[in-house]
Symmetry: C2
Subunit: 412 residues, 2 copies
């Protein structure tokens, strides 16, 4: 039984994590939020109090923290007596926060893979470049570290595991499809940190096909699906974290990730990328100033968390899984539909943040109760899928399944 | 009789000015080139020597100069015994260089209006905000200052004056059309300094219509013309220097400027502009760095002078003038067609730089010979058009006229 959660980060996802932790503080204990800018943490604390999200009386405090400073992070873990750290800060801090958790002997959870600010699209599998190098250390020290437990990666990994274990004798392909059919009403915006968002698309697209790594260019390969609720949607093969763990952890020859983009997004992205404005490498202005273009693009774009009040429409994210069952071809689509307006009404964030922020809280609850407190480093597909899907059903992210028997809620 | 020329600036236009001065150094005397980066000046000197452009033996030297430093500019004028300064540097230095010329008692020529780095699209007429405030001083001191004597502004002002004086009893409208039908083969590039180029289009478009200033948005008003050599071309009403002097100096109720843009240019411009990446106002990155987005866009785009070797195709720039002659409606098109490849072969620059760089040298020659040495500040339409057009015909920018009598060379 573990308790008390330290949330690191203060963006839109952290806002959701804080609200959801508060809604379940009878299980999770005290809640602390830390980021470089303590004011942003305090705003989240205020928002949680305003909405009355705390289920029972308990601590809820904001802290200033440079999460790259391992000793400072350890000190805050110690001071707050946190036994679980949910890291939803920048993708650049994972390895520092993980190290702090290992040294402090507490559980670690994150929602996206570690990135080096100066590199994009490294060699696959990505996890092997950073997090998995600490696998042995976590096992030796009995540290529970759950990697990538947002929606995608995260819930879609559980969907993949559920499909493999519950519905097939053998699986040939897992295609994860991520569609945001919502509208934020702005000229252009990204749904999460523009810097991380664009970095996903400026390099090579890695996919796992016929048990080998295949490279493509962004927007080179697309598909169109008729999906529940959101209808006909075109998505493009995209490099994404979960391909790099599912390919290694499940015995499936094809694992691909597809993200939906509108023509306007592709037009803007293509121009910025072709001009060199999405580069993570510094350029020098005529005046001699060294600037990373991508950081300037981020500075002029809307703050993703500012989109929430006006966001309408729905997301549909799920796994198309194909294989054999009893000698016959079979296909299932396991998915969730989330609503931007409902997310904002409940926790003050838009649907993309909501789908990313609820799962790590569910995972923390499963650590708190012991079901997922596995004392080693894992990706989500390595953990029991049934309690996670059941808990998400209760926490605002209901799972559905569509197959030859129809389209229906999924629970175990 | 004035002689010896100091060229300020070291971009693509300065390269043309240097070559053309060298080709006429029997009239112009010694040639000196100065800019912040002396290496760029030296490259131009080397290019002139390599092409053997010097007509007779004479000085040709490179100098380092911060042209915002009025005393330093005066000292260099004095040291080089220059009696004429051709300013083809950044649009931000005009007022400093002009002041240095006034104090040094030498002639001043430029090819584009002064700009304040922090302002765009100021109130009309633009010249009244800066240069014209020195009109009285120039008159008092007997300084010849010729403003905007590139192609547009410059030659097109002479075309307007020629039309008014030679072909009409009354003129109703002057529409200046600037078409670059050339191709540089790059994904995207501007033909001159991106910072100055984009600044022309990010604010209001001023035009002179029915003897009043009218405001439009960029790309709001367009026209399509069937033009000599370049064929059918769409152009867009654009704010431009010459509208601000022709409207005040000629008794013509309608003066408009039109620039040709392809769909790709408009798409890129529109996206960059809507995102805020063309802003001249600084933004702050997440890391706290203050950056002017437009300067970063400039840094990632190709250096315009680097386009020259691969540039093909032609430009067509001229004045559509409509009015009355002998009680009847009349229309003339006075224009020049320039060829990018021919320009590069002759002076190592592309056609846009060529059309901008030849006219100030012709003007300097007319000052040297006394015909344009008017001892006051003028815009080009206030000067005799015949010697200028005749000289340009000889110097590589032949003028043609198209009217009811056909399409033919124009000379006097």
């Amino acid at each position: 039984m573990k308790k008390n959660v330290l949330i690191i980060g203060a963006g839109g996802v952290a806002q959701v994590v804080a609200h959801k932790c508060a809604q379940h503080n009878d299980v999770l204990g005290n809640i602390h939020i830390a980021s470089r800018t303590v004011e942003k943490c305090q705003q989240i604390v205020d928002s949680v109090r305003e909405k009355g999200s705390l289920k029972t009386a308990g601590e809820l405090q904001a802290h200033a923290l440079d999460a790259l400073d391992i000793e400072a992070t350890k000190a805050l873990i110690d001071k707050t007596q946190s036994q679980m750290v949910i890291n939803v800060g920048s993708a650049f801090i994972n390895m520092s926060v993980l190290q702090a958790c290992i040294e402090a002997g507490v559980a670690y959870l994150d929602t996206a893979i570690h990135e080096d600010p100066t590199k994009i699209c490294e060699n696959p599998p990505w996890y092997a470049n950073y997090e998995w190098k600490r696998k042995q250390l976590c096992a030796d020290k009995g540290i529970t570290a759950i990697l990538g437990v947002g929606f995608d990666p995260g819930v879609v990994n559980t969907y993949a595991a559920a499909a493999v274990k519950e519905y097939f004798d053998s699986v040939d392909s897992i295609d994860i499809i991520d569609i945001n059919a919502g509208s934020h009403g702005r000229y252009f915006a990204t749904n999460f940190d523009p810097e991380i968002n664009f970095r996903e698309f400026t390099g090579r697209v890695w996919s796992w096909q016929n048990r080998e790594w295949v490279q493509n260019k962004m927007f080179e390969v697309k598909r169109t699906d008729d999906l529940p609720v959101v209808g006909s949607q075109t998505s493009y093969m995209t490099g994404h974290d979960e391909v790099h763990s599912l390919s290694q952890n499940l015995d499936v020859p094809n694992v691909r990730f597809w993200m939906g983009f509108g023509e306007h997004y592709i037009n803007v992205f293509t121009i910025l990328n072709n001009l060199g404005l999405l580069s993570e490498q510094p350029v020098t202005t005529a005046e001699g100033q060294q600037v990373v273009p991508l950081k300037v693009v981020k500075a002029v774009l809307p703050d993703p968390s500012s989109l929430a009040p006006d966001y309408t429409g729905k997301t549909c994210i799920g796994d198309v899984v194909k294989g054999k069952k009893d000698g016959k071809d079979k296909e299932v689509f396991i998915y969730n539909v989330a609503d931007h307006e409902e997310a904002y009404a409940e926790v003050g964030s838009q649907g993309i943040s909501y789908t990313a922020g609820v799962p790590p809280v569910a995972a923390a609850m499963l650590i708190a109760t012991g079901e997922w407190d596995v004392s080693r480093m894992v990706n989500v597909e390595e953990l029991p899928h049934r309690p996670f899907i059941n808990l998400l059903n209760e926490m605002g992210l209901p799972t559905r399944i569509k197959d030859e028997q129809g389209d229906r809620p999924l629970s175990f």
